[in-house]
């Protein structure tokens, strides 16, 4: 580790107080991020129009598939649940300077554990124990899966980016192989999927005719709870200190390894729980590749919202709506549903682009009547770089 920092110290900021930090900063942050989302949506529709898709049809499908109908409302909420949870889990680990790129694998293992326990625990198929048992198993599975990475990181110091990525592939293969083997649904031998979970393990819908469950409430409570905890407690401050400057944290007596271990384990547990909630509330069975988009979406959101974590739920809901609209887009406007994957990366690019543009031309913001000194889009790059620094290779 060199003594000369490659990244300059972040600019001094006004003190932050809870949700609203000084002088309407939070609302400006919300404004910038919503602007980034709308711009990227505009770019996407522009591109699709240029490719001779009908923009009116696309907009209609987006509306209809996300909130425009009762069932889609439920699917949006169910899709948002794992996204919010994985995003907050990745954000939590990032506070200590760790990149939990393995959210996807931890979520998949959580889902697997939920299926296996509810199917093979030997309980009657309507027992009330099934749901708590499945969710508990999912949480533990996610925790253990992240534990592998945490142990390698803490005891060997190895880069967690590569190990978490490898474990994503491992989780995918384990699930595919189990479904080809012992888990294969005998009633459906030609489709690679597991048996559906027993009826008692399915989380009931809050609204009839939808798949809206209390999962989304759990996700929101857990997300806000985690963020408030990290932002407002001593333990949270220690976590952030490790991410901001590891050496300083060590000198001030923080047991870095212990916090790394616990933040990674909790991060994994949250991802595992996300897998369990999806499985018991939305999918009901497991199949190869059943979970691919959520983990990576969560990671992208965690980085979108590094500076303003309270926006994680908002992004989660927006991306959940997009995820729910994907199949409708394909069905009604015959746009390939992979467009949703592209759409998930666009806001990140647009947001960082906005920041760079704003910095290069401070006048852009002055035009909105804001004093230049308290630029609303103080770049998140400074903060991302701070987080990027300790997690980097060779440290």
């Amino acid at each position: 580790m060199s003594s000369a920092p490659a990244v300059p110290a972040p600019a001094l900021e006004p003190p932050r107080r809870g949700l609203l930090r000084g002088r309407g900063g939070a609302w400006r942050e919300v404004g910038t991020q919503v602007l980034a989302f709308l711009l990227s949506l505009g770019v996407l529709i522009g591109i699709l129009t240029a490719l001779h898709y009908d923009p009116a049809q696309i907009l209609w499908a987006l509306w209809n598939g996300s909130v425009g109908s009762r069932p889609s409302l439920g699917v949006s909420a169910s899709e948002a649940t794992p996204i919010i949870l994985t995003a907050v889990a990745v954000w939590l680990a990032a506070q200590t300077g760790l990149f939990n790129i393995g959210a996807d694998g931890q979520l998949q293992m959580g889902g697997l554990a939920a299926v296996v326990t509810t199917l093979y625990a030997g309980l009657p198929s309507t027992s009330w124990v099934l749901i708590p048992l499945g969710l508990l198993a999912a949480t533990v599975a996610g925790l253990l899966w992240a534990g592998i990475v945490a142990v390698i990181k803490v005891y060997r110091g190895a880069n967690e980016i590569i190990s978490t990525l490898m474990l994503n592939f491992v989780a995918f293969i384990i699930i595919s192989q189990l479904i080809r083997g012992v888990l294969q649904d005998a009633a459906n031998p030609y489709t690679p999927q597991s048996k559906p979970i027993p009826s008692g393990a399915k989380i009931n819908a809050l609204l009839s005719g939808t798949q809206l469950t209390w999962g989304i409430i759990v996700a929101l409570v857990l997300a806000f709870g985690t963020i408030v905890f990290v932002k407002n407690t001593t333990v949270g401050l220690r976590l952030r200190a490790i991410g901001l400057n590891r050496e300083a944290a060590r000198y001030s007596g923080i047991a870095i390894e212990r916090y790394w271990l616990s933040s990674m384990l909790i991060s994994g547990a949250i991802c595992g729980l996300a897998g369990g909630l999806v499985l018991l509330g939305l999918r009901y069975y497991i199949a190869p590749g059943w979970a691919s988009p959520w983990g990576y979406t969560g990671i992208l959101i965690a980085f979108l919202a590094t500076r303003s974590p309270y926006l994680i739920p908002l992004w989660g809901v927006l991306f959940g709506m997009l995820g729910s609209a994907g199949p409708v887009l394909k069905g009604e406007a015959s746009v390939p549903d992979s467009i949703v994957t592209i759409m998930q990366t666009l806001p990140v690019i647009v947001l960082f682009l906005l920041c760079v543009v704003a910095r290069r031309s401070g006048g852009l913001l002055a035009a909105f009547g804001r004093p230049k000194s308290s630029s609303p889009v103080e770049p998140p790059a400074g903060e991302t770089a701070e987080i990027a620094r300790p997690g980097a290779v060779g440290v």
Binding site: A6, V7, I162, F169, T384, A388, G394
Partner: protein, 305 residues
């Protein structure tokens, strides 16, 4: 089980042939990663760049019917995507990890979209035609080194050239960018420009890596064909201690893991885990034994040019 493996696989020339074939893309990507890593860039987008190149190599062959044009398409795609990664991580200040993940996710979405848009029946080339144009030597064992597709030899030459390059004056400039940004800037090196150049060179190599996956190993496009090879290449660089020839040897290890997995077939699908488990073990066991560039992945100060 072990002795069975030994006799069935390691004793046959076929096994080693396929090992060399599957090592090639990993080795090419690993050589590209040495370059970027020595320049201080942690190239997390490597997997995405390979996927896009593999797609355009197949698309090029399907459109034009010419292997050479497929290779050109892939190289252009590789360079453009690598520069895009540089744009995200340096110009937009996302940092190497976030920029890399954006490239990774975008590459999956974009290739899936383009396949549906342009090749609704699937993107497949007729036969794997990137083979050697010269005849076999007649001896199976000699063929392992003498009768491979041309990019195999290019990989070895590339690794040697990178080893030599890093010892030249310009190579030292590149290394200074990875070892100490502040020193390099004091020397008046334009780091952003330098890193863009290195990324373009790496993009060329990754384009060729995409060609070997697309045209020499798989032949049908699918968003999962890169199957972690880019990330495994990053692990190879660590395992080979950032030295090109040692990295080649490390990638051979992962090549063996892939070849065993291909060979076992339906009987041992669990063997698919092998390359990933080997990677995990490798970084868990060898991390810290070797020292990489001091400031890899740390980004540049805000006012860099």
């Amino acid at each position: 089980m072990c002795s069975l493996l030994l006799t069935v696989f390691f004793g046959t020339s076929d096994f080693w042939n396929s090992t060399v074939r599957v090592t090639c893309p990993i080795a090419l990507a690993a050589v590209a990663c040495i370059l970027t890593s020595r320049a201080g860039v942690l190239f997390v987008g490597v997997e995405g760049v390979m996927l896009i190149s593999a797609f355009f190599s197949i698309a090029g062959v399907v459109w034009t019917g010419s292997i050479a044009l497929g290779v050109v398409f892939a190289i252009v795609a590789g360079v453009v995507t690598s520069l895009f990664f540089g744009f995200l991580s340096m110009t937009l200040r996302m940092g190497d990890v976030v920029g890399g993940l954006v490239v990774h996710v975008l590459s999956i979405g974009l290739t899936a979209f383009l396949v549906e848009q342009w090749f609704s029946a699937g993107a497949t080339i007729g036969a794997l035609s990137l083979g050697p144009s010269w005849g076999s030597t007649g001896n199976h064992w000699l063929d392992i080194v003498a009768h491979q597709q041309p990019l195999t030899y290019f990989t070895v030459i590339g690794a040697i050239s990178v080893a030599i390059f890093l010892r030249t004056r310009l190579g030292l400039v590149v290394r200074s960018s990875g070892e100490s940004v502040s020193v390099a800037q004091t020397l008046g090196i334009k780091l952003v420009r330098l890193r863009y150049c290195v990324l373009a060179a790496a993009g060329t190599l990754l384009g060729l890596a995409g060609v070997t996956i697309g045209l020499a190993i798989i032949g049908t496009f699918d968003t999962s064909i890169a199957s972690g090879r880019g990330f495994i290449a990053l692990a190879c660089v660590i395992l080979g201690a950032w030295r090109p020839l040692a990295v080649l040897a490390a990638s051979l290890l992962f090549g063996i893991a892939y070849a065993v997995q291909f060979r076992v077939g339906a009987a041992g699908q669990w063997m698919q885990l092998l390359p990933y488990v080997v990677t995990l073990l490798a970084i868990a066991l060898f991390w810290g034994r070797t020292q990489g560039p001091a400031e890899e992945g740390l980004g540049l100060p805000n006012d860099s040019k």
